[in-house]
Symmetry: C2
Subunit: 259 residues, 2 copies
Amino acid sequence: MPRPDFRTPRLFLESPLAAGATVALDRSQANYLGNVLRLGTNDEVLVFNGRDGEWRAAISGSRRADALAIQAQTRPQQAAADISYVFAPLKHARLDYMAQKAVEMGASRLMPVSTRHTQVSRVNTDRMRANVIEAAEQCGILTIAPVDEPVTLQGFLDQRNPDRLLVFCDEDADMADPIAALNRQTGAVKHGIDVLIGPEGGFAPEERDSLLRQPHLVRLSLGPRILRADTAAVAALALVQAALAEHVASEQSQPDNAN
Amino acid sequence: MPRPDFRTPRLFLESPLAAGATVALDRSQANYLGNVLRLGTNDEVLVFNGRDGEWRAAISGSRRADALAIQAQTRPQQAAADISYVFAPLKHARLDYMAQKAVEMGASRLMPVSTRHTQVSRVNTDRMRANVIEAAEQCGILTIAPVDEPVTLQGFLDQRNPDRLLVFCDEDADMADPIAALNRQTGAVKHGIDVLIGPEGGFAPEERDSLLRQPHLVRLSLGPRILRADTAAVAALALVQAALAEHVASEQSQPDNAN
């Protein structure tokens, strides 16, 4: 697999990408390349659209950064590991940060759920999608994780595929060996993984009861310290990636999860 | 061990803490309790000073939040696991965030090092200490991690205790099984652990050479994605805590590291 290039600027585009194609840039993209990065005609960038892999492109156009000439593919499209990040939304800047971090840590889908103790009632999913794209651009990720519209925790539990592994980050879980708890599940992840981080106020008792009745459940301890939700997201995804990444199915093998 | 209480506000104080003591609050502490948290006379808070454990205290004073009456100890002081977080500093807000996250993940000492590709030359260590205290207050941590003055990477390598385990988060490390790489070191952590996160531009070749010559070295892969430095800090500390926390020495057993 070619090693990602992280020094060349990367830009997400909606357009199909193929050798010889020319893609017009919208005003914000042109502004970013021309005025923020100070690039001009013939300078190189990397582009991706979430479907066609990563391509080298050169800035073209009579005025600066009008368009991109797509040149050669630098990395093929790869299926993302099927790891959904299920979370109680936070406010504003911390939600931006949490969405970026989840993508950075390899979450392939973001699923906000409201709980009894969730402090945020409305979620700006468009803003979350912009954060997903920004993180993918910065971190060399070639797929764009979809952001679901928020549902209640019970709604999520009712509609999820019960064959998927549910990793429930539970401050009351046994701390003894979180890695061993995950390692026992290597056979259970062929339908993908849902990693659930609760609200900072914790789950209500009846919510905990519903969660603990789920099949294929791992209660994961993140240690004796209480973590902020954005920190817990990174820590939990780091453990899941380290223990299970090589066993988890990729999204493409899960047509029921491709929307 | 008593379970930490995370609903009552927690405040770091410099004063000695003992049953029956009265501690005067400075203006910013009084403002925080009175105006930010809207607490008044007889309301309860938890306090700690990094030495005497955690205590329940009641707001006293004729005007609001003038002083605290220290009542009973809620948790004894505990030695922190001896895990130093060694890092190339970032700019401003991201450095604040990184310091908070490292403390939240249980780092017991913060050691900024400058490298060839470090983007930041001056580090405001007072501001980092304020972030350490804020994270400890929020996350129920009873020790205040010292923040060292910055040194060069070579200076750090020259002065460190070579018996300590060095966990080097290396994007070129073998990705196969980071947990197994850490688990092989359970016997080697009795002198503590240094977790090193490099600059986002990577280490220079001669820096890598120096690092790779260190004894008791683990090169840790954090996966195929390139992470921002603050994300890498949380991910690396999560893996180190999960794999090694029960084996690592506590700070108190390491007098050479107690300054």
